[in-house]
């Protein structure tokens, strides 16, 4: 699989992409495919502070619930409210309209430095699919 190079990725299959001062977070196309049809996304209250790997919500298919883990540390300053009525956006556009949360990172400079780049995540996923 090939993933966009403008984002970084976690081994828990979340992506993180800078948008000015903020980081946008979602689940990767690989995760969305594995999950199947997403029927519900539970997102946190705006204002919550998360550390890396904190659970910030869940994403549900008909017969599975998967926790969402924060790939960066910071304050959650926005959530994708469109998912409330249209959880299918996570399937149709996981790295676009299906984004999950907007985070104001604790440290902008180092926020994503421990995450995989696209090439490394490609390799990681290829290994899982093998």
């Amino acid at each position: 699989m090939k993933f966009p190079s403008d984002a970084r990725y976690s081994r828990e299959h979340e992506w993180a992409r800078f948008d000015g001062d903020d980081v946008i977070v979602g689940i990767t196309p690989y995760a969305a495919d594995e999950l199947g049809d997403v029927v519900y996304v539970e997102l946190p209250a705006v204002g919550l502070h998360v550390e890396v790997m904190d659970e910030f919500g869940t994403v549900e298919s008909v017969k599975a619930v998967s926790p969402l883990y924060a790939p960066v540390a910071g304050d959650i300053i926005g959530v994708n409210e469109a998912l409330d009525g249209a959880p299918e956006l996570v399937n149709s556009s996981p790295m676009g309209d299906g984004w999950l949360i907007r985070v104001r990172p604790d440290d902008h400079a180092t926020a994503v430095e421990d995450l995989l780049d696209a090439e490394a995540y490609d390799a990681f996923v290829d290994e899982l699919l093998a």
Binding site: E60, V62, K63, A64, V65
Partner: protein, 452 residues
Amino acid sequence: MSYSPSTDADRARMLRTIGVDSIDDLFVDIPDAHRDPTLDLPAALPEVDVLREVRALAEQNRVPEGVPSFLGAGFYRHFVPALVDQQLLRSEWYTGYTPYQAEMTQGTLQSMYEFQSLVCRLTGMEVANASLYDGASALAEAVLMCRAITRRSGVVMAGTVHPAYREVAATYTQAVDVELRTVDAWTRTGNDVAPDIEAVAAAIDDTTACVVLQRPDFFGWVVDPTPVVEAAKRHGAKIVYVVTDPISLGLLTPPGDLGADIVAGELRSLVGPPAYGGPGAGMLATRQAFIRRLPGRIAGRTTDLDGQQGFVLTLQTREQHIRRERATSNITTNQALVALGAAISISALGPAGLRDLATRSLSAAHRCAEALASVGATVSNAAPYFHEFIVHAPRGAEDTVKALADRGVFGGYPLGRVDPRLADALLVCATDLTTRADLDALMNAWQAVHRG
């Protein structure tokens, strides 16, 4: 003997296929020392002999056919259409199981959907589950829901909620951070007992997850809940109503119109006689916003590959078999058959029938109160009531009940069991099944007990 159809020849054939010599060989994993214990159990009986034995036990019990009964207190007798039990005896209903394979269990799934829809109409709520164990555990689950929704721990419980329901709520919440606070919700002046809704309202504060009121309450009263509703709204607390007799909803304003966030109740009286307390069925209904916090099974309507209407279990990710330790509850088996009976009963009675049963119950209770007063009893009820009222029992309610029973009448429920300050108060219930003859028997017995 065990309802197994296998013959010795069948068994021999099966053992050959398996490749073992005897059935004992199938139990080798059981530790030797404990295999095949000697059990102290009686021998088998053919069905007619079992029936004879159980009937002998049944006949030792005195029941309303022979003993006029004015017992209610959360367990009510109402008319139930004959077709309800005829339906429940259909094999396709009672020998099926949870609809795990939707295509093969559309009957159960559609009936669950209809049940949920009927409960919503009856209670004035937006969503209902397909039943819980009973009214008491439904209240417990409602309290746990409110804790999860509000992330608060305070529960203000009116003392006029059924005492057993309050106990069960306390049991369920003993290991989590819930502070149950019971407020009397009634006052006594001389022999008069009256509701005190303001006391409940005053107990609500910013730590309150929910306030629990019963309607009609355990003492039979129908109270305007406005002070509690306003206080709850002011403090952001949820409002839970308990309904122990669904027939009351044929007449009374539904909880959904009185600010309810959750309605927890018992449906047994729609389906049959009290059955010594069970099986009943718990109902739990709430607002759309809380559907993902609702425990238990929920049926949903959808379509199949051909676009035809069909039904499935929905929102199963709330449940234990998927979410395991994070589930909304551990409930699995529910009371589906009783809930089905309730749906059939509501459908057969219709709105007019339900209203009739409710108004007849109200009429019967009020006429009984008048009649008791006419033979010298003091009705100490100082508030509007539905089909239960309080009578002053000067020699003590426990003693009165015993004396009345000795004269062949179950006179009511001694309220001293709820609170010692009410040791001389008797809770008397009448319904659409109470007859003129029942009342005559009560009046005669009352006079005999209180003469001289």
